[in-house]
């Protein structure tokens, strides 16, 4: 049964059927072959249920928030401040790229939006100051991926829904790895630029006075962060509600910067609906497939099969990491998560790993998938913003950061506490 199902899924996906249709067809086939019940009937209730699942409401909200923030004009001044603080290091503006992405990530739940926003303000600077295009664009593609590791994060919410893990816990688990990864990205730039000083471009040294005076530019992102994330831990809002607060705050900010008008809103809504409908259709199909899989007992069989291999937990984890590194080259990341996480997370849990911790591992692997060719959305976004040169330059420039990401995965496997310390602290302090 396992082999048939896996083969069928690979076949359907490789034939380039829409991911949602492939999942639903697989569900139909499995239900037909192994249960003999008219299982397709359930798809009505499941479609309604997937749509009206409350926590999923935060997915379109974060997409909408990103669409509005992109146009709200908060990025320019924020980037400028980061230039004053970080570009004295060897590697100059590239450190500002990472720092600006890190900050923006704390207000944005999407990596694509983070990469697009920061690229738009920083790529004109790359031309002006004669940077090595590959490493510069690579730093933007990689820095952008921080968008889903540092909360808020659409992908962490999706993981939470798929595995029934607490989203507030996942968010807390993302912070420390997020900041460490950001520091490691900077370290990567530093090392590359010390080896190849010519790639470093012109540095820029601001006086302390200039630095302090640039700080007010950080207030809007800080305010957004406090509204979206602070409201959850202050007990004011659920993660779902906080996403709606974020939308309203982003609109207020855009209006404040005089960037809000009907056409901005219209394109933001279009972009939101396009992504939301696509993602929710995949969700619906995946929920249906999961329903069939549990009805047929397949998921138990898969777990047993893996356990029968008698791999140590560490060996299993290494296999999983390699699996995602390969799959991530070819698959769109949201589709990859929805198809694989419901099957893999139970295996991981049965081996004694923590679900919250594994969520962060998955996010790091998804981040890697976003900058590995041929299907790596951030590579194309940065390349598109640049509007000249060759894609392979961006790919080459992102390569050192792929190594950094893998190093981060290794770090997190070696020290799970990096992710688990904050959630536990919070759990203890709230007595839950």
């Amino acid at each position: 049964m396992i082999i048939n199902s896996a083969l069928l899924l690979v076949l359907l996906l490789a034939a380039s059927l829409p991911v949602a249709a492939a999942l639903a067809l697989l569900g139909y086939a499995l239900g037909h072959l192994y249960t003999g019940m008219p299982i397709l009937r359930a798809i009505g209730e499941i479609t309604w249920g997937a749509g009206s699942e409350t926590i999923l409401v935060s997915v379109p909200m974060f997409i909408l928030m990103g669409e509005i923030l992109l146009r709200s004009g908060i990025a320019e001044r924020m980037y400028d401040a980061m230039v004053k603080w970080f570009s004295w290091l060897p590697g100059g503006l590239m450190h500002s790229n990472i720092a600006a992405c890190t900050l923006f990530a704390a207000t944005s739940g999407s990596s694509a939006a983070t990469a697009a926003t920061i690229s738009t303000v920083s790529i004109p600077e790359m031309r002006k100051h004669g940077y090595h295009a590959a490493l510069f664009t690579g730093s933007l593609a990689a820095g952008g991926t921080l968008g889903i590791l540092i909360p808020p994060s659409i992908n962490l919410i999706v993981y939470g829904v798929l595995t029934d893990t607490s989203v507030p816990q996942l968010y807390l688990a993302g912070f420390i790895p997020g900041f460490i990864l950001s520091a490691l990205f900077m370290l990567t730039i530093l090392v590359v630029c010390l080896v190849r000083p010519r790639w470093g471009g012109r540095r820029y040294s601001a006086s302390w006075r200039e630095r302090w005076r640039s700080l007010p530019a950080l207030l809007p992102p800080l305010a957004l962060f406090l509204i979206v994330i602070g409201s959850i831990y202050a007990g004011w809002a659920t993660p779902t509600e906080s996403a709606s607060l974020g939308v309203v705050a982003a609109i207020a900010l855009a209006a404040w910067n005089r960037r809000l008008n009907w056409s901005v809103l219209k394109t933001a809504l279009e972009g939101t609906m396009r992504s939301t409908s696509m993602i929710l259709l995949i969700f619906t199909a995946a929920f249906f497939l999961n329903f069939v899989i549990s009805a047929t007992g397949l998921s138990k069989e898969i777990v047993n099969l893996i356990l029968d291999l008698r791999l140590t937990p560490l060996e299993t984890m290494i296999a999983i990491v390699i699996f995602y590194l390969v799959l991530g080259c070819f698959m769109e990341t949201m589709a990859m998560m929805v198809t694989t996480v419901p099957l893999i997370e139970p295996i991981v849990r049965s081996m004694g790993y923590d679900s919250v911790w594994f969520g962060i591992i998955i996010i790091l692997l998804v981040e890697t998938a976003m900058i590995t060719p041929p299907v790596g959305i951030n590579l194309y976004i940065v390349h598109g913003v640049r509007g000249e040169g060759a894609l392979h330059e961006v790919i080459a420039g992102a390569a050192p950061f792929v190594i950094t990401l893998i190093a981060m995965v290794v770090l997190l496997i070696a020290w799970p506490e990096l992710a688990l310390w904050l959630p536990r602290l919070w759990k203890e302090s709230t007595g839950g």
């Binding site: 380039s16 249709a21 009937r41 409350t54 070819f330």
Partner: protein, 197 residues
């Protein structure tokens, strides 16, 4: 006809988007009322769930017209162009099947709620046929859109107009995929230039 369909799909998507926007404001209002004025409406959770179910089905046709329904095309790209177009049509047929199944059984859910006068088991006690009715309209619209696209794509394929098939239902290249995001970022002009889309 295709143009008309695309226009209707866009309107439906905007309507769905406005519903989501409305929900965002409503939820924000509820949070503020609850925290600052200690007034509990506790309607937002119900309503936002319905709003998502409705708006996402209303956006499905728009996503179809924008070729947004994700496919893994790494393998089929190795084939000659004509074969790729065959896979495009196959993919569309599979999506049409899904749309039909969802619309058919979705209608069943709606019809049952209507017949039994089912209400939500929450303080709001919404009669379920209302949100489910709007939701079924979205599903039916998606099925119609898929069917129309099948007709046009098959006709173009039989007439050998492969470029047209690609434009209708081909996969987006990653470059095209990234384009939307970039356009959005670009539409953000300098601080004092006013804005345009």
């Amino acid at each position: 006809m295709l143009k008309g369909l695309e226009r209707v799909a866009s309107w439906a998507a905007w309507a769905g988007g406005l519903v989501l926007l409305g929900v965002a404001f409503f939820v924000a209002l509820e949070v503020i009322l609850r925290k600052v004025f200690l007034i509990g409406l506790s309607a937002a959770a119900d309503l936002s769930g319905y709003a998502l179910a409705i708006s996402y089905t209303w956006g499905l046709s728009f996503a179809l017209a924008r070729r947004a329904h994700v496919r893994v095309d790494a393998l089929i790209r190795l084939f000659p162009r004509k074969v790729c177009r065959l896979f495009d049509v196959l993919a569309l047929l599979a999506l049409t099947w899904l749309a039909a199944v969802m619309a058919w059984y979705g209608y069943g859910v709606f019809a049952e709620s209507l017949a039994r006068g089912a209400r939500a088991m929450t303080p709001l006690a919404t009669p379920m046929w209302i949100p489910q009715g709007l939701w079924v309209i979205g599903l039916a619209g998606f099925l119609v859109s898929c069917a129309v696209f099948v007709v046009f794509a098959v006709r173009a394929l039989l007439a050998g107009r492969t470029a047209e098939v690609n434009r209708l239902i081909g996969t987006l290249t990653p470059e095209e995929e990234a384009e939307a995001e970039i356009r959005a970022a670009r539409s953000s002009p300098g601080p004092d230039k006013g804005s345009q889309a």
